[in-house]
Point group: D2
Chain length 350, copies 4
């Protein structure tokens, strides 16, 4: 019963098959190969755009490199107080940008609102050159609490950002899960809503290590290539990343995998909702469930073989009792059933 | 009627005289001169310690360089949400440290409490290497809201910091003002309370450009000299900074100047407290008064020749109506009187 | 006829099989898995040591991260003028270290000598804090010119470095090729010779993307984990890198592959040596041949399907006519034969 | 007999008088004062231009900040192997630029030639994104060996730089000395010759701590203000720097002081040239003399009270025996006479 992370899951057989294919012949290094061209074309087709696209191996690299192009080293990036770039990348954005500042915005369920963003920004009036000037608004879709922004939400936030001279970065580590839930097209959920740069995550959703950085306006990609190279993120045998993305997007595999993961989480959520003693924290818009168990139930679940982590964040509403359960495309329905049964039983005894 | 900043004020005649003295002969460059030795000895005498002491020309340099020694580039510095290092140095700490993260703590009156600090830190559980690990607690004395920590406050905060493996940095841009108010000795208000590094400001209190960075434990100064040099903050004619500090500390000049500035601000505060329509925001523990005027009184005061700036901060309790009035050692009592008279009259008409 | 780079070559079937194996089940993320443990144990067994070992996906990341641990941000790294860290990483070492300085040493055939290193260093007398202090000597094995240091060479250089307070970093992108040629053990060619940190390259020699950073003295690894994370180089599905290293080292695969590549290059070199009009530049100690062709022979070879790049470096002895031919474990002997035939014929007509 | 550095000398009385004047009243902080406006206007008048002008306290800050605007963090700065930015700023340019690379060019007498620059650059062919791309050519006037470029030299170098897409930075720590010698106008020796940014040094030539960064094309100054602020180089009481520059340029004081320093050095050089046992190394185009003394004469001179430093550089032509003697505007002629007498006598006895 693996609910610790979608990172625990292996890659999908079609991704593995693509890797094997890419291994067949010699290919030019550093992205000068045909597979890379194909994967980039695929992104542009799927997103209905003509974007500058780059591949890297981790979400931290994707976010950090993208931000380093969007803000000068003394600039400020607005983001949610629970965002991955703030909490989980060991000051990576600060490293990649050469010292830019993250300015955090509070918000329930990992969700930013224009009101909250505006209130935060109003505390930093323009007084050049004293305060660090805001350059970027960073959104996460799915949010860190597993919720999804609607297209209207995104449009409103992006409009506000652009009105205030901010570029919009989207951390799309679980973008596919959000697509599967919202039914939006990739374009609707990104550039049509106003997103300038999307970091599209594939690793958690069926790949081995593959993330795409997509600059919808090619001019804004500026010197990404140099920055990726000096950060050691340009793979010499670059085709092995490209081919994952290529296969992942082919035949809607990415959406199918996300839909499966979401279905499992939805079932898990629905089952837990039946158990009175359990507290559910946020809507399950994707593949994540945030939950508090009564008494020592969490420990007993773990003792019985369930794997999941506590979820602690600044201003934690659950006062330290919250856990995060994540499903992936590979989570067996039987694990959901077993986990729910077990929880039922344990909760009765509390 | 200059209440805009203590930075508008000129240097005290004794400081100017010291500069002239230092100009008399040739001196070794880069701090290898006798005046520098004397100024360092003076600091150690006044603070009753054997510290490593360095001089720079700005508070931003002092803070940034000090922090760069205390935290690795991926570390986190806890500080007040309104602190100068967060709000007013254009991401300088991030620059000097090579990308460390400032983690802000809320608190009324610019004041940190152990409760608030602990609550903030609890949102960042140790999960190496994912979250940026906290390395420093930064305090400001006077706080940005012009209030002073008591020795007990400082001891409690420093103890908590040390218990959590954090070094304590104090931004002492108005340390002298706090001394004059609290009556503590320099030692009591710094290392005896647990402060590891003090950035002692002299510029605002009678000098031209002179700040001291004081590492009370010499071993903790580590590579400060190299860091100061590469940042362009080692003056070639270093004696011109040292001599300011030397003269400033001599014969208690620094405390006298601070006491005068504080007395002016206290008088200003007392006068304003008599005017019903005026709102005072924080206790005036030093040389600063934070105030809201009714209607368009602020504009009329400015039109009448008074100079002061609005004070806008994250979570502004005054909803954008607050102003900061600062007195310096050179503020004439007559300016206080005139300003109070004027305010009285203008408030009547509102 | 692919002689452009060993990066063009695919991964060895045993590596691909290991990937498939690692894909079978769920594994803890971020290196907390058993495959990673096994790969680290394998490194320690093969190198007869108890080292701190980290895996990353590129040589640039390995070098940059290793150097960031060895030098402060204001320090100096001595390296060959043609070294990869100087010429080919787009200022990556400067990025990872936070601004350290590369100080280049000239030398024939990409080779450092103590004399040359000492002469260079003597131009930078210690004058703290003015000059950037040297902290690291970086060696490359194979060198950028495809030559190998003997164990005695390495011992002499490392001894000199340690005598001068420098740590020794080895860029071992083609370490396996050097082992295959010299017949030394991994230990003899690294820590027994005095190397402090080895960046061991596997990508060019049969893997997809896999490099190991080996700190032979665990204490010297210090904060590598934090630095790797913030640079986006800690893979979430870390097992996919570890398993490559594990399979690569198993049953001497790495040495077999290197020996094959070396044999091809040796044959190529021997064949070219028979052609009078061709100039060979450096001894072929591994899998690289550096050569000048007469007239337009290089262009004609390319037109006939041979792929290779010009090799231009500071102080180029060949005045811009040099080319680099690289063999890999997968280079077919028939490609060597065809290339030699073709060159023979074309050179006759010049 | 102070020949150690022009940094040992005090400030000129007119500079001290200007400081006293600037101290008379309250002035807006952070450069918003009338004195700063006047000093900037003075620079533009003297240089016959409409430049963006910024003041800082050290040459290291001026150079580092200027370079940080001219090159991206992964770019390369071409400079002389003996240049101050390479040898004497403790990796400051790397710090300010966020990791740019200095690429050094050899050359006799600290002098760059187009041939040498072109030869160096040819070793770094464009291979984006692998090699760090060159963005800046940095010149020093006077050079580190005390020689002056002619206007034709500068034009040729700047033309070459611009033809290769490089911006031209001039480290003018002793720009005034070069003006006094060459008789060129400030404009001729800077923007009319093609210099894009000049760091104009005043500290060594009569000020306390004052350097100007002059962007002749205002558009190229870009975000200098933010960069200066975050580096702690925007003085709060900014007028104290401006007033030095203002007084220094007034009534040709700067040129008079430089002419005096040059005259002393010329006399010193002429005297030493009469002593057969003494070796002079470079033409004395300004206020510096580079010399080797026979036997232990250097030590005896020091024992007799003369102060000067050995001069050791990469590729030292004097094999470690060279010393640098520097005159300033305040060097008494009698010190020159005494030093020459002494040297005469000591050399006889060798």
């Amino acid at each position: 019963m693996h609910f610790a992370s979608d990172n625990w899951t292996g890659a999908h057989p079609q991704i593995m098959a693509a890797l094997a294919d890419a291994n067949e012949a010699a290919h030019p290094a550093y992205g000068g190969d045909a597979i890379t061209d194909r994967a980039i074309a695929r992104i542009n087709e799927v997103f209905e755009c003509d974007a500058a696209v780059y591949f890297v191996t981790t979400g931290g690299a994707a976010n950090g490199l993208a931000l380093s192009v969007l803000t000068p080293p003394y600039g400020m990036v607005l983001c949610h107080a629970q965002s991955h770039i703030e909490m989980d990348e060991c000051a990576g954005p600060e490293f990649f940008t050469g010292g830019a500042k993250l300015c955090t915005i509070p918000g329930d369920g990992g969700t930013l609102t224009v009101d909250a963003a505006a209130k935060t920004l109003s505390g930093f009036p323009e007084r050049p050159p004293h305060g660090s000037p805001a350059h970027v608004l960073s959104l996460t879709q799915l949010t860190e609490c597993g919720t999804a922004y609607t297209q209207a939400d995104l449009q409103t936030l992006c409009q506000w950002a652009h009105d205030h001279g901010l570029m919009v970065h989207m951390d799309g580590a679980r973008f596919a899960n959000a697509l599967a839930t919202t039914g939006l097209t990739p374009a609707q959920m990104s550039w049509r809503a106003g997103v300038d740069v999307l970091c599209l995550g594939a690793t958690k959703n069926g790949c081995l290590m593959a993330e795409a950085v997509i600059f919808f306006d090619k001019d804004k990609a500026k010197d990404f290539e140099f920055r990726r190279k000096r950060a050691g993120h340009l793979l010499s045998k670059h085709r092995y990343i490209s081919t994952q993305i290529d296969a992942w997007l082919a035949d809607n595999l990415w959406l199918d995998l996300a839909a499966t993961a979401n279905a499992r989480a939805t079932a898990l959520c629905a089952g837990l909702a039946q158990i009175e003693a359990v507290t559910l924290w946020y809507p399950t818009d994707g593949n994540e469930v945030f939950v508090s168990f009564p008494g020592d139930v969490a420990d007993q679940l773990r003792a019985a073989g369930a794997q999941f982590y506590p979820w602690i964040t600044p201003g934690d509403p659950a006062n330290g009792t919250m856990h995060r359960l994540i499903c992936s495309y590979a989570t067996p329905q039987i694990d959901i059933d077993r986990f729910l049964d077990l929880t039922h039983r344990l909760c009765k005894d509390v």
